[in-house]
Symmetry: C2
Subunit: 205 residues, 2 copies
């Protein structure tokens, strides 16, 4: 598998490198453990699992009807799969294309009242504060549950990334809200002035 290929494949490979899992399990894991910086949908997971199996990077385990429910298709990583994963891990990550709808709206927002933008920023702040709480909670949780796991320091790094980022964004939100309310005041004043002027004019005519 070429390292230029979609990161999704390697994400699945990474999850399977921890322990064998089904498509369903993978989805759960991604949502629960790396959900703050990654996502996968069933629509991709199941086809990709087949491709990975065709390439010999994972194998389907047999006899895994598990809890007696509908057939669970459990996959495990192969030695070839581990090699491919390691190779990919060593390559420099592609830089993500930056697309923020919030900033786009903010950039063009002199077409609307500052209050509308302020609302967006307040929502953003709330969201980031919620994220911070989740990061801290998760960090505490995994430190308790996996105190000796070799992966723990790396998991904490990703959480710390989120914490730093969210804290910075909260600070930005505060600054931005202050600026926006100043702008609003200024605009209100100008409006009043304009009205007064108009009145005076009418009065004198």
């Amino acid at each position: 598998m070429k390292s230029g290929e979609s990161a999704s494949k390697f994400a699945l490979l990474g999850v399977l490198s921890l322990k064998p899992a089904s498509g369903y399990d993978i989805k759960q894991f991604v949502q629960g453990s790396i959900g703050h910086f990654w996502s996968e949908s069933y629509g991709r997971i199941y086809p990709l699992l087949k491709e990975l199996a065709d390439e010999g990077l994972i194998v389907q385990q047999r006899g895994t009807k598990a809890s007696g429910r509908s057939e669970r298709q459990v996959y495990a990583i192969t030695v070839a799969g581990e090699m491919a994963l390691r190779q990919w891990l060593e390559h420099s990550p592609r830089n993500e294309s930056p697309r923020s709808e919030l900033l786009l709206k903010l950039f063009f927002c002199d077409h609307v009242a500052p209050e509308a933008s302020a609302q967006h920023v307040r929502e953003k702040k709330q969201l980031e504060e919620k994220h911070i709480a989740i990061y801290e909670q998760t960090a505490r949780h995994i430190q308790q549950r996996y105190p000796a796991h070799p992966g723990l320091p790396y998991w904490l790094m990703t959480l710390n990334f989120g914490r730093h980022r969210s804290q910075a964004l909260v600070a930005w939100c505060d600054e931005t809200l202050a600026t926006l309310s100043q702008l609003e005041k200024k605009q209100a004043k100008e409006k009043t002035k304009a009205k007064t002027k108009a009145k005076t004019k009418r009065g004198t005519v």
Copy 2:
């Protein structure tokens, strides 16, 4: 136009709300002015311009052969377009799906030497530092060039967003690099220990 539609359309509309432009101009503007949080490709721009024109949100200006080069198709926003833009601006922005290849690699990196990950983090740090320099430079530049433009405060907000974010990420990089080098030392020690043990064993046999 429904507000649920792709933000790309509104991005074009936003650019055209500043002044009439061709597809080529739009691309230049996006790269130069909002490139730190948005991107558009020709492959989207030209078809979208046609769609916007069909919807009556923009109109093609005639007689714009401009510099005598090949035909420039210059578009201008209509009143309907301005209304659609305003409506979109007031809607809460959709939250972006978080996908960071760097964090994905970091999360699974106990499969490789810490040095490989450290390299990724160092590159990230360099990139963010470069961004900070660009943000500051751009901020100074537009304050000088457009001191009275009504959009200026908002443009500065988006730059400030980038600054906060990048600074936080640089701080995270430093912390992470420190942790990684500690991990490396620890691993090296364990290796040495294992080797000494092996030697002793061999010596005694």
